[in-house]
Symmetry: C2
Subunit: 315 residues, 2 copies
């Protein structure tokens, strides 16, 4: 019987759909264990086969409850689902997300659903790098749909857009002002927009405002798009509008496949993953050479970052 | 007469306090013009001499109005001020910040104030990299105080903390819920907290909640700190509380110098700047070697990011 940490055995078990193995592989990949590269290399082979949904939007928009609803829908359709809950803020903020976590965990006992959360270690690109690796594990596990949920506003969305095929931006009627400020950034990456809690006061107005803003975004010099991002109105709590949202997500996936845009996006995703790999690999090597002495030289202005950087890279 | 783009001439003019020269140097550094490295190398020599304030917090908190008030205060104290307005979201969202911009621009005609805005190009670490370079130009220009203002929640704050000596986290009574979710991340990096628009309903409660949360943060296993982040209540609109805030910022700067923490932070700032330099330098070199062919190999899964990355770095 092969050792528990024999990569080839672990890979075999993941491909067979073994959640325990996937959980272990995911930890190894995310923590960049010594075995990680061999694993990632294997798992990458199943990359880009299924739709990756990126669910983002401000805290409190109900993303997790909505994700829970989408999981139920996919399960009814006979699909297995892999979910990554990404916490871009510090480990300390775990508490803030616990409520959401609990709501989604009702699916944790379903053998057709694999849920794992990732917390940023605040490293440059650390989170996105980890997401790529984790997604490939879920792909190798054979998930029929993959959902990456992240609290995202501004730059975070750029990250999710570089990982997901379909970016779902979730907001609520109550978040009008916040969205005013975030809108432009969000609008560039959103493929499907959701006004959740649409049964609250101002729901219809929020939908109309968002549609109007999406129109403005275009008139502001953007080329007409083959896919015009639709706005769905949902109530994750009651489930209202979730089926329509699900159909929009399916439609976008069909669009990606039919138009060739999906292949272009996958290409961009791989390019980004490559960039992050190079970044982390080289940075790690270079940083191993950064000692207190060189930092003291910087402090004393005996050298500058560029000169020291070159020296470290040459070494 | 030396050519306008002669680095040494430009450097001389910046050191003399020439705003036009600083503006040009800043563009060169941020856009990484060919001359940029020579300039950065020179400007780095004046790094770490004056207090760098990082003003962050959610959109609509009134950061720019508050920054405007702080500028007035510093000017009254006879200090020149350099301000970088950082827009972490896409160029498109410029509109969302225009209102704030206008409010601060009243100082633009003051020869003792240098204001420049930076927009992210959505590159990994691109913004933080640019901020470091820009800050060194302001330091070389001889600014007595430097303010880096950024819309920040979650990860962005980690960036501002790696650039600024004193992180000022601005919120409002109206942003209770949002702050609930952001609090932990913000609390880790904030040195001084501000409840702006404190004259609005719930102002006192917001101050109390924030103080309570800061207390909780510590009891949650944090070591007692030499500097306990205070909470200031301001109304940037009326100017109420701004002088007290200013004194807290001065006190933190004194604390940094007296405790040696300032030197530690500067060391971390330099280390981060070095990391970003290595990151961008190596990434650029590596990406020059990424062609459509290698990306197609990834798409076809003939290779994987790690293997391709190694190949590109060896080449």
């Amino acid at each position: 019987m092969p050792a528990k940490n024999d990569p080839s055995d672990l890979i075999r078990r993941v491909r067979k759909g073994d959640h325990a193995a996937a959980s272990r592989a995911l930890s190894l990949v995310v923590d960049e264990d010594a075995a990680a590269e061999a694993l990632s290399k294997e798992f990458f082979k199943s990359a880009g086969t299924v739709q990756k949904l990126g669910v983002c939007g401000p805290p409190g928009a109900g993303k997790s409850t909505l994700t829970g609803r989408l999981i139920s829908r996919y399960r009814k359709l006979g699909l297995t689902v892999g979910v990554l809950m990404v916490d871009p803020s510090s480990s300390l903020s775990g508490g803030a997300f616990l409520g959401d976590r609990l709501r989604i965990m009702e699916h944790a006992t379903d053998p057709g659903v694999f849920i794992r959360s990732l917390a940023s270690r605040g490293m440059v690109g650390g989170l996105t790098h980890a997401i790529f690796g984790a997604v490939h594990v879920l792909e190798a596990l054979g998930c029929g749909k993959i959902v990456v949920e992240t609290v995202g506003t501004g730059q975070d969305e750029v990250d999710i857009a570089s990982v997901a095929d379909t970016v779902v931006y979730v907001t609520t009627p109550a978040m009008g002002d916040e969205i005013q400020a975030m809108k432009a950034g969000a609008m560039e990456v959103g493929d499907v927009f959701v006004v959740n809690k649409a049964d609250l006061a101002g729901g219809d107005k929020a939908v109309a405002d968002l549609k109007g803003a999406l129109g403005l975004g275009r008139s502001a010099g953007q080329a007409p798009r083959a896919w015009e991002p639709p706005v769905a109105a949902t109530s994750a709590l009651t489930g209202a509008g979730v089926e329509e949202l699900g159909r929009l997500l399916d439609a976008h996936w069909e669009h990606l496949k039919a138009s060739g845009e999906g292949r272009e996006r996958l290409k961009r995703q791989h390019a980004t993953e490559l960039q992050f790999w190079i970044h982390r690999h080289v940075l790690r090597r270079a940083l191993e050479r950064v000692d207190g002495k060189s930092l003291d030289e910087l402090l004393a202005h005996k050298t500058d970052p560029a000169s020291l950087g070159r020296r470290l890279l040459k070494a």
